[in-house]
């Protein structure tokens, strides 16, 4: 079973990202969307959490990153995807868990 997790809350104002990270299994994918994309930026107190997690695929939705002007500040190893890529991820995984 592989699961796609989506996180749409800022990691600085909500525990959603931490909860998701705690429950996501190896081999699953965490897709950061809306205010969730801030978790993908470097140089902050959250960056280490992604850096220290090697067995989960992290993706960020391009349109949301661009809207917030962070596309130049994304951490290494984070895949940038467009809306079509989002659809592909949904199709590729067995289940989708949308953390709210």
């Amino acid at each position: 079973m592989t699961m796609l997790h989506t996180v749409n809350k800022s990691p600085f104002e909500s525990k959603t990202f931490d909860t998701c990270l705690g429950l996501a299994k190896g081999g699953s994918t965490i897709l950061l969307i809306e205010d969730g994309v801030y978790a993908a930026t470097t140089g902050n107190s959250v960056a280490d959490k992604i850096k220290n997690t090697s067995d989960i695929n992290f993706c960020v939705l391009d349109a949301d990153a661009q809207a917030r002007g962070i596309e130049g500040k994304l951490a290494e190893g984070i895949k940038v995807i467009d809306y079509e890529g989002f659809v592909d991820l949904v199709a590729e995984h067995d289940t989708v868990q949308a953390w709210l």
Binding site: K9, S10, T42, G43, S45, A47, D62, A67, G69
Partner: protein
Amino acid sequence: MSKKFMYINRKAPYGTIYALESLEVVLIGAAFDQDVSLAFIGDGVYQLTKGQNTKGIGQKSFSPVYMALGDYDVNKIYVEKESLEERGLTLDDLQHLVWEDEDEDYAEKDSIRLVSRSELSDVLDDQDVVLSF
């Protein structure tokens, strides 16, 4: 008599409607000739960042409106230092907001005041009305 109005902004832009609604209310307050200050704390600091391009999410970007605040005599913009640092941001990541001082031959001056949490607490204490977004 004009009162001192402080608008506290704590939310990132676009994910919720708070940032845009705050801007609308700020501009209304300024039109009524009140003494207006803005504070950006927590994720609110993200409202002021450079390079926002909202084309892909189908929302209008209100980022340029912050540049116009100076023309409405809204020139006391407090940004909390701790909030910037927590997010790995510096003043260079924010738009350069300025206003023209008519008492000094329209000299261009910075609107953003970088303050510590304890300094901001003193600024808050000095207000007549505080509105939170």
